[in-house]
Subunit: 118 residues, 4 copies
C-alpha cells in the first residue's frame, strides 16, 4: 500500500516544521499523524458510501449499520487524539503549573464531557 | 444553492420508480432523500476538514470539538432514518404480521441497540 | 437464590391482574417482569456500592469502572423495555392505524433519540 | 436537611490527613464528597423508582424517560469524578514523571474510553 508513503514526504509531514512558532500550533503532539489521516480518509469514504446507499435507497438497516461503524471509527479517532493531548499538551501545562495547568485541565475535561455526551 | 436541485431530476430520484419490485429495495421509505444527501455531504466535508486540521496540526481540542459535532450530525441522520424505517418498513411488516413482522421488529431492535451502544 | 421466587407469588406479579382496565396500564407488555426487577435491584445495589466507594474514597478509576458497568446495565434494561414496547404497544397501535399509530411511532422515535443521546 | 452536615466533621473529612501514605488510597482527591454521595443516593432512589414503575407496569415510554434521566445523572457523576481525578492523581503523577506518569495517563485514557463507549 502506498497509504503510508506520505509519512516521509507527503503534505502531512511538511507543515510540522513549517510553522514552529505559531501560537496555537502544537507541533508533534499527534503521535502518528499519518495513521490519523488514513483513518479520517476512510471515514470520509464511509460518508461518501452512505450517500450512495441513500441515493440508491439501500435497505435502511444496512445504512444504519454503516452509520454505527462510522460513529465507532470517529470515536476511536477522538479517543486517540485525546490520549495524545493528555500526554503532550496537558503534561506540559501541568509541568508549568498554575493557571496554565488549570486552564488546560478544565479544557480537557470539557472536551471529554462533549465526547461522552455526543 | 443547487443543492436541492437533484430532488426533481437528479440521480437520486430516478431509481425510485425504476426498480419498484426489487426484493430488498425499499423505495420511497426515505422521507426526504435530498435532505439526507445534503446532510451526508456536509458530514463528508467535516471528515475532509478534520484531515486538514490534523495535517496542519491544529489545536487538539478544536479537532475534538469538530469530531463531537460530526458525531452528533451522524447520530441525527441515523435517528431520522430509523424513524423513516419504523414508519414504513416496520409498519408494513406489522400489517403483514407473523414471522415477517417479528423478523422486522427484531432487526429494528438490533439496529437501535447498535446505535445506543456506538 | 430466592431472587426468582417473586415471579410466582411476589408483589411484582400481583398488580398485573389487579388493575386490568386502568387507562395507561399496559399489562403484559413486559416480556419478563421478574427479570427486569432482578436487574434493576442489581443496579440499585451498584448505586449503593458506588456510595460506599465514594465514602471510603476508593480509587477513582475503580469507581469509574463501576459507573461504566452500571451505565451498560441500565442501557441493557432500556433496550429490552424498548424492544417489548415495539413488540406490543407499537404493534397494537399500528394495527389500529391512523393517528394512534402515528402518535405511538413518534413517541417511540423520541424515546429512542433520548436513549441514543443520553 | 442534614445531608450536608458530614462535610464539616463527618467521616469523610477526617481520613484525608490520617493515612497520607496508603498505597491506593487517594484521600482528598474527591472535590466534594458529600455532593457526590447526595447525587448517588438520588440515583439509587431512581433505581428503586424504576422497580416500582416496572412492578406496576407503568407506561413503557415513561420508564424509558426515567432510565435516560438516570443515565445522564450517572454520566454527570462520572465526568465530575474524572475531572477530580485528572486534577489530583494525574497532576501528581505527572509531577513525579517517568513510568508513574505514563501509567496514570494510560489508565485515565482507558477510563475515558470506557465512558465514551458505555
Amino acid at each position: 500500500m502506498s497509504e503510508t508513503a506520505p509519512s516521509a514526504s507527503g503534505p502531512a509531514s511538511a507543515p510540522i516544521e513549517a510553522t514552529p512558532d505559531a501560537g496555537h500550533q502544537h507541533h508533534g503532539y499527534i503521535s502518528s499523524k499519518d495513521d490519523y489521516l488514513k483513518r479520517l480518509r476512510r471515514i470520509e469514504g464511509q460518508a461518501r458510501g452512505l450517500q450512495n446507499m441513500v441515493a440508491e435507497e439501500k435497505y435502511c438497516i444496512d445504512i444504519l449499520t454503516q452509520v454505527s461503524a462510522m460513529t465507532s471509527a470517529l470515536e476511536s479517532v477522538a479517543l486517540g487524539l485525546l490520549n495524545d493531548h493528555l500526554n503532550h499538551c496537558v503534561v506540559e501545562a501541568v509541568a508549568e503549573g498554575g493557571a496554565v495547568a488549570e486552564a488546560k485541565l478544565k479544557e480537557a475535561s470539557d472536551a471529554i464531557a462533549r465526547l461522552v455526551r455526543s
